[in-house]
């Protein structure tokens, strides 16, 4: 069994950059979680990363995420104690101790949440998640695709409120029940999702996504230091494809059924001059069209990145005039299976398109 690997403060910085790219427009900026980690590391905390294959089959793993509206998260700032309390209250409810903690989604701020809990609870973080990116809804995970049990769920806020969803009839019911509780406590809450066994994580998780995000961040940092094109570096390191480069010409957003949906139009520059790229999003980017023809669609990762800095741009921060590159990164294989596509393919987002990968 490989020893646990301590994660350095520099790697946490890289994780924040990489995770924001893998957020594919959603997941929320990791900046505030990163500030918390800097403070914890200054106080001497060191979090270890655990190879998922080192989990025993009957180990219990906490799957954590901060749930809610990114806007509320900008005022009620994420606190390591809240996410840690979600984990410890779940342990009390179960009467069992978690061996380790893992992230629900490696895209955006939730990539850093397990590190915050782990730093306080002295547990390792499992090098895995269950999306390999960010998605808006509870049923859009590899655990849901594998039809694992979706309950219990522990939801806590900064006051002394805690809600247990003891049972749910389906993943969609779990989404509905937990979302209702989340709105009641101010649209921001720390959650500990249905506990997973070591075997479930090994069989059904998206493995090594934490180290992947760290590497991706390091790639961007190295390119910046060397004054190299960060987009080229990302595409090369992740075997992605640069689909388009241009300037945001229009952004239209609307709130429907509790999500941020909308479209963005990019007018081409350089090699893409004269062409037009359109993106549709539901929190995360879902489909992209080049001159009216579908070019890329979920679950392929659609990343919109600042052309100069290599910094990811979220669907809430897209703005007219930004110079951006659209990059596709390969999705985890489980999302590409027929069952996976039922959960996260274009039809799951309301687009009547047959999924074709840009990497096919």
């Amino acid at each position: 069994m490989a020893p646990l690997r301590p994660v350095t403060a520099e790697e946490i910085e890289s994780l924040a950059i990489g995770a924001w790219i893998l957020g594919t427009g959603g997941g929320g900026s990791p900046y505030l979680a990163l500030l918390n980690m800097r403070a914890l590391y200054r106080q001497g905390a060191v979090v270890s990363l655990m190879d998922p294959m080192d989990l025993a089959d009957d180990d219990l793993v906490a799957v954590v995420s901060n749930m809610g509206a990114p806007l509320v998260g900008q005022e009620r700032l994420t606190d390591p104690r809240t996410i840690a309390r979600a984990v410890t209250m779940m342990e009390e409810y179960l009467g069992r101790r978690f061996r380790a903690i893992m992230s629900l989604e490696i895209g955006g701020g939730n990539a850093v949440q397990p590190f915050m809990a782990a730093a306080l609870l002295d547990r390792p973080v499992v090098d895995a998640d269950c999306m390999g990116r960010a998605f808006p809804e509870a049923q859009m995970t590899s655990f849901a695709i594998h039809d694992l049990r979706m309950y219990p769920l522990m939801l806590v806020d900064v006051r002394d409120n805690a809600v247990i969803v003891a049972q749910a009839a389906s993943w969609k019911w779990m989404e509905r029940l937990s979302r209702t509780a989340c709105v009641a406590v101010g649209s921001i809450a720390a959650t500990c999702k249905a506990p997973r066994t070591g075997k479930e994580v090994k069989d059904c998780g998206i493995l090594y996504s934490t180290s992947k995000a760290i590497c991706l961040g390091q790639t961007v940092q190295a390119a910046r230091r060397a004054h190299r094109d960060p987009i080229e570096a990302i595409v090369e390191a992740e075997r992605g494809q640069l689909l388009f480069a241009g300037k945001i010409a229009d952004v239209a957003r609307r709130a429907t059924e509790g999500f941020l949906r909308g479209t963005a139009r990019i007018d081409g520059l350089g090699d893409c001059r004269g062409q037009r790229f359109e993106l549709a999003f539901q929190n995360e980017f879902a489909v992209g069209w080049l001159d009216g023809t579908p070019r890329v669609m979920t679950p392929d990762l659609i990343c919109v990145i600042d052309t100069v800095s290599g910094e990811a741009i979220g669907t809430e921060t897209l703005r007219y005039g930004q110079r951006v590159s659209v990059v596709a990164l390969p999705a985890p294989p489980v999302l590409l299976t027929p069952k996976g596509l039922e959960h996260v393919g274009p039809r799951a987002f309301g687009y009547d398109l047959e999924f074709t990968s840009v990497f096919a």
Binding site: A69, Q74, E75, R76, L77, R179, A255, L260
Partner: protein
Amino acid sequence: MRRVGLDVGGTNTDAVLLDGDAVVHAVKTPTTADVTGGITTALRELLAAVGASGPIDAVMIGTTHFTNAVVQRRDLTRVAAVRIGLPASASLPPFVDWPDDLAALVRGEVVMLEGGHEYDGRPIVPLDERGMRDAARRIRAAGITSVAIAAVFSPLNAECEARAAAILREECPDAAVTLSHELGRIGLLERENATLLNAALIGLARRTTRAFTEALSASGLAAPLYLTQNDGTVMLAATAEAFPVYSFASGPTNSMRGAAFLSGLSDAIVIDVGGTTTDIGSLRHGFPREANNVVEIGGVRTLFRMPDLLSVGLGGGSLVADDGRRVGPRSVGYRLVNESRVFGGTALTATDVAVAASLIDLGDRRRVADLPADLVKTALARMHATIEESVDRMKTDARDEPLIAVGGGCFLVPERLPGVSAVVHVRHQAVANAVGAAIAQVSGEVDQIFQNLTRDAAITEARRIAEQRAISGGADAGTLQVVEVEDLPLAYLPGNSLRVRVRVVGDIADGATARRRQPTAADR
């Protein structure tokens, strides 16, 4: 309407007199250490030149004083930070993301109290009034004179900040108080940072504004005094002295607005070539395009309304090295008139190269006659490449756009550039800053979440609030124009929530009206 515009920079104090749309006269004088001296001199020269040709309706001053204080870490006041929002946000206290050296200068007491609101206006928990009173007494005991108060979601509900300020004033009647909801948008940390910076600058702002006022009365001017803001608008000095952070980026903004005015163009790229740096920005509807998201000032993250600028280390004083292959970022700056070759010095500067290439006639051109033609060609190509690349980076429209060249070093800008329809040179380009100050307008802004309204109704309501704010800031109601509308539906929030941001601007109401309406901080 006759207005005087002043630009108080680190090197020069420029003054212009505008009568309607005409520049009557312009002067350039050295800035003095006491600020007042330079302004008095500039005003005396200006008024002497134009004679007693009529009254002055308004005086507008733009200055880089406040941003320089933060960047250079000087003249800052120690601040007590009061954060209201516990139990939320406890792990990231005030100053958490400040550079250590700046925090060490500014951080006095840090107080975190229970209170604050949810996004929908419900209290998180009741405000800890007793804790606020205890804190106020500690602040007084510590001898701290400036206090920054920030409560969670105060842009939506300012009750907690207002109540805390009232308690503070009972205990520390002389303390200056900055409230975060008067300064910023959603984003607690960035808004709080702006509040802390403002509180740290408040002493300097009062002293500087007083110096401006004294210089004005010493010059016999009775016109109302305005300070220019980051967004190309002005605030009455009496209000502005409470909000120095709003003046941070007024220098480059004034130069871009001045360029728009002098050229008659409202949509263009502006390049301001100074002695050490070149600033490039984009004009949209006569105003600078604002920066996208987070703006760092002296290493502190904020969400200010700031022009989106690209600064590169190229100017008339830039040192030429490596046989012309390197130009800048090192520069002789204001010592150009002594140290460059054409002025009898030994340093080889961008200006010397320009004289050698006959782009401009300055100093003694015989002193650069020995420069190798290859060096001149290489250095010019280097500068043109830098300018070309920088202009392209700031362009947001694929179509060709005009480029307005201003500043003392604008002869470095080539006459043809890819993506540029024409390079526009203007009269009075060396005092574009002061012209920009003279033509500044008054704005009103709102950035707020509206619930259970249609999109149109929400925008109409936002516009009404913004117009009200502009008018109480001194704008002529008949000239108000909406320059920005942005709406953002909020994911996950119930009740059809819409975050709407509207900004309106208008001309300054005539002197008498402005004097009647002395707005207070509460009007913002």
